[in-house]
Symmetry: C2
Subunit: 447 residues, 2 copies
């Protein structure tokens, strides 16, 4: 099930950590042996934390070449188990998103790809701050279990063609060490370190290809479009150098995706999409990402056939059926799929009134997400999530509103949390007298 390093150990004289720090500080490129040594000594704790911290900051400033980043990714991947799915004959493609507000695409895409004959081995890591992971959302189904052993995960993939589970700690354990330190040393935003962190785990999941959604904007941790483009290029380049098919879309995250934010509300929106309904922006992104998946998988050749394949499975109920299969396989109550009104409703629903007439000019998606995190107590990732809490009927950028008209509906159970959440929601919206040009959803495709 797992494979380990195959590169023979060459004669390598361990350099001092000081030497390695100074080498990177002075803008030089690490050799493969040096990167492997850094990864190994991080994993076994040989490299003191303060020296690793200095090295990470040096990498932030001095960067890493494409080759260094590829080596770092591979060495981190090889620090743990690498799942072998070669016994599954179907094409195996995964999807990764840098994380967005209201982004429920995975819940639709995974069953959609499964319906098209693509195996999707999706493992979800811990999301940063206010981002709700697909697993948090799926946990709205009573009984749903995202904690699976690699063995159970692999068997489910062979049986039904898809799984959405929690990332296994045995995958790329070196990254966990790097990441814990990056969080405390201001080195999260380093492109090569992000690339290595994400891909070392994703590529250990056994997929042959990866579709990446790099989000940029106020709701993403990448605020800068240029940086998002660079990350997309860095990831696809490394993916290719590791012999995986890779495509990245740079997409807009300057407002929530779809009309809802909150676990159960988002699941309901995903189900409506699987029934051929749902908001336009969400549908567009699902279609575009879905087309990339089926093309990477070789299921569809041309753009047209890819589009037709994806649209067919979204409307003929086959993706919906696969969604039920997945929920059922992981212990969830599928009756909620047929009857989404079974999801618990919030005790209170109230509107966020528009303070004046005008057009929705900007929505700070991070503030929306923070408000929802407050209402659902999902901030600390430990307390039980209030699945009913969230916001719906979000008026998107470019929408005209009258004074007092709802900008969105707020669902909440705990009165005490409302005030603080309201502050976030109010701050998130900016109205203007002129209609703004809504930002394009897909900015760039990097292949």
């Amino acid at each position: 099930m797992t494979s380990k390093r195959t590169i023979p150990a060459r004669r390598f004289i361990k350099p001092s950590f000081n030497y390695l720090i100074e080498k990177k500080r002075d803008g030089q490129e690490f050799t493969q042996e040096e990167i492997r040594y850094i990864v190994d000594s991080t994993l076994d704790g040989e490299m003191p934390q303060h020296q690793l911290a200095a090295l990470l900051m040096a990498i932030f400033f001095a960067n890493m070449s494409a080759q260094e980043t590829a080596i770092l990714t591979e060495e981190m991947m090889l620090s743990g188990e690498v799942i072998d799915l070669s016994h599954i004959a179907k094409p195996k493609i995964d999807k990764y998103s840098t994380g967005g507000v209201g982004d429920k695409t995975s819940l639709v895409l995974v069953p959609l790809a499964m319906a098209a004959g693509v195996v999707v081995p999706m493992m979800c890591g811990v999301e940063h701050d206010y981002i709700i992971s697909p697993l948090d959302k799926l946990s709205a189904f009573p009984g749903f279990d995202g904690n699976q052993s690699i063995d159970v995960f692999t068997k489910q993939l062979a049986r039904i063609g898809g799984a959405i589970v929690k990332q296994d700690d045995k995958l790329a354990p070196a990254d966990a060490k790097f990441y814990a330190l990056r969080k405390e040393t201001g080195t999260i935003p380093s492109l090569p370190l992000i690339t290595g962190s994400v891909l070392s785990k994703k590529l250990a999941e056994g997929a042959e290809g990866l579709v990446i959604d790099v989000k940029w904007g106020n709701g993403s941790f990448i605020k800068d479009l240029e940086q998002a483009k660079q990350l997309a290029r860095s990831m696809t380049r490394v993916g290719r150098s590791m012999k995986r098919r890779c495509v990245a879309l740079v997409t807009d995250m300057n407002q929530p995706l779809g009309d809802t934010v909150g676990t159960a509300l988002e699941v309901k929106e995903a189900i409506s999409l699987l029934k051929g309904e749902g908001p336009e922006d969400l549908k567009e992104l699902v279609l575009k990402l879905g087309m990339e998946i089926v093309r990477l998988a070789g299921v569809a050749g041309s753009t047209l056939s890819a589009k037709q394949t994806v649209q067919r499975h979204l409307t003929d109920g086959s993706a919906l059926q696969k969604f039920k299969d997945l929920v059922k396989a992981q212990g969830g109550d599928t009756s909620y799929v047929d009857h989404p009104d079974k999801f618990p409703a919030a005790k209170h629903v109230r509107k966020l009134p528009a303070p004046k007439r005008g057009y929705v000019h900007t929505i700070n998606a991070a503030f929306i997400a923070q408000g929802v995190a407050i209402l659902s107590s999902s901030f600390d990732k430990k307390s039980k999530i209030d699945h009913a809490a969230g916001v719906s009927e979000i008026k998107k950028v470019g929408t005209q509103v009258k004074q007092g008209e709802p900008l969105m509906m707020i669902h909440y159970n705990d009165e005490a949390k409302l005030e603080q959440a309201l502050e976030c929601f109010k701050t998130a919206y900016r109205l203007a007298p002129k209609r703004p040009t809504p930002p394009p959803l897909v900015v760039e495709r990097v292949a």
Copy 2:
């Protein structure tokens, strides 16, 4: 005897260390309160080492403004005792050098300034790598003691006008914490950190003015002339902002200074200079630094009168007498000053023969110093120094030599160490058929 912070504590909400790291990483400027908080939390260990390491590397890359550097210096200085010499009426000027090979100027300058009526409160820190500190040199005098309490130090200053002692741990203790971490994290060469480290200690010694010798070249830890100039500017700027008179000379360290390297050999050379003899380059630097000292002290007004003052004290025996006073005050046997042949001689003296005829084109001073460190076992700063070991009669850059003629004389007691040292000496010398232009000794004056 000591003074502490006088700035009133304002209401200051402690930021997270993460915030501080990210602020510097993103090129922003720290406030006074933030720098004070960083210094305080470094001193009391509140700031974890890995976060401080990341912050130091961020400072290396993102730099600090002149104002930040001045605040850092002041806060580090105020982290410990600040010696008050205001009860001594005479002008108090210190000298600091970034460290050079064969640099025995302090041994001459201190008594010279004393003879001119200037009080010199010199404390020496631990020198890097192969650099021999003035205290190491003075320890060639039997009985000499460089370890003095601040109280004894101050009394000696009042009594004879000068002292050369080991830096007291009570001065700028925050710097010791920073420095220990900088050594392990590749952040030694940061200009603001160097400035803060050096000046926080130097300005705590109670001097009203400081003459700084910033050395650049293959024998200095600053290899780049432009960087040396920047450091000179940074130091004088911070010194001035802390209300001290400051002058810096940027001087050449692309070959040893004077004709000798090694503790006793250098002391003997210093004594000959105090008797009006000695090599030209050493004499020139002593004159120029001495002129800066007497002018900063207000003892001499014009350049001409400064030059006359310094030259007079060098030739009339008054500086020599002050040197004896100093050695005696610190327990050393002054009969060695009158009879330098009392210093132990090495068992073996052999020449380093020129491998071919030509001109001395370059001398790598660091290699010379390393060879001497090997012969005198002074590398680890712990074992007893072999005072007799060293090199003399160094042929300087521009000198013409015949094949087999000595490039220098090697003094050693331990045959076993010779081979390795010889390798250093041979590597240090490059001969060329054409006479090179010797580099200027004083490149720039920064006031």
